[in-house]
Symmetry: C2
Subunit: 192 residues, 2 copies
């Protein structure tokens, strides 16, 4: 599982071999089975987490207890409750596994130390956050302006690999539409 990370980070950041190994040496490998939780609402998120294998979701719950999926994440993505991780406040979200998964964890403090020692890692994280932020802006634009059908088609096109690994009712949750509406949309496209 280290190899996945080596490949990923070599591609994205300009690190010396020593720096890369220093980062890896500080990581904590962890395996989780499907349905196991990485983080629960109310807990404090303490790890910066990279996915080397598997699929996870982050979700919040509404007043009624319904689950609303904030995001999916698969291999080569980072996942954490960023708000809780940076503020130290209790997490508003759950993170659990949709498949058996393999992760690399860095405790927040450890990662911060690495960032001060390795400026390029700091810069890399800034770039990552910037891209996350842009993706999030797009998501908002879609949420407030697309029709359910457009939301669905956009998702399939944007995340084909996620689409094929995740149950439809979770995609509906992610899109903010009902399971049934998603079915109607799919039915509509079936005979075309």
């Amino acid at each position: 599982m280290f190899e996945v990370f080596r490949k990923y980070i070599s591609d994205k950041a300009n690190l010396t071999p020593e720096e890369l190994e220093m980062i890896l040496a500080a990581s904590i490998p962890k395996k989780l089975k499907k349905k196991q939780y990485l983080l629960k609402q109310g807990e404090v998120s303490r790890y910066n987490t990279f996915i080397t294998k598997g699929c996870l979701r982050q979700y919040r719950t509404g007043n009624d207890g319904a689950e609303h999926i904030m995001r999916f994440a698969i291999e080569n993505w980072w996942i954490s409750d960023r708000e809780s991780l940076t503020t130290g406040l209790p997490s508003k979200s759950y993170i659990d596994c949709l498949e058996d998964s393999e992760l690399l964890l860095w405790p927040r403090e450890t990662f911060n130390e690495l960032k001060t020692k390795i400026p390029e890692l700091h810069a890399f994280e800034e770039r990552t956050l910037a891209r996350s932020f842009n993706a999030t802006q797009n998501r908002i634009h879609i949420a407030i302006s697309y029709t359910p059908e457009e939301k669905y088609l956009n998702f399939v096109q944007s995340f084909p690999t996620v689409f094929n690994r995740v149950p439809l009712y979770m995609i509906a949750s992610y899109l903010g539409i009902s399971r049934e509406t998603l079915n109607r949309i799919r039915k509509h496209f079936a005979h075309k």
Copy 2:
């Protein structure tokens, strides 16, 4: 208008008086009248912008040409198309004034130089982005899980000052609901 910024930044960042003045000295004051544009879709966003007075909105347009408001910003807020600003790509959004406004602009390169000279400014910007990101996550959660009524009430409570300065149909746009639905909700609360 400099005074507004001095007060703001003194409160948020631990800068020396010299650093503060260095930052201010690099700024470009600008006044815009209501309905004037700070940025148009397709242009490249070249300035990091702080609002000392007034009210602006950032919006994107859909296929049909309809305006969808991404955010409002008033005194003591920053505004720019962050994606365009950091990537140099054409902006997906418009930014215009809802009131006569006074702004301080820093060209992207100038601001970056300031950040390298003043680490605390760099750190401050990171904190700001982190909080923006968290706000954005909340917005997504609301968009995919709240009813129109809940969205409205949440907005009034979260941004009372903006609420009182902005036309209702723009709030509807921001919330991703129709003007008429917003009226119905308000009517519903009127006689209660």
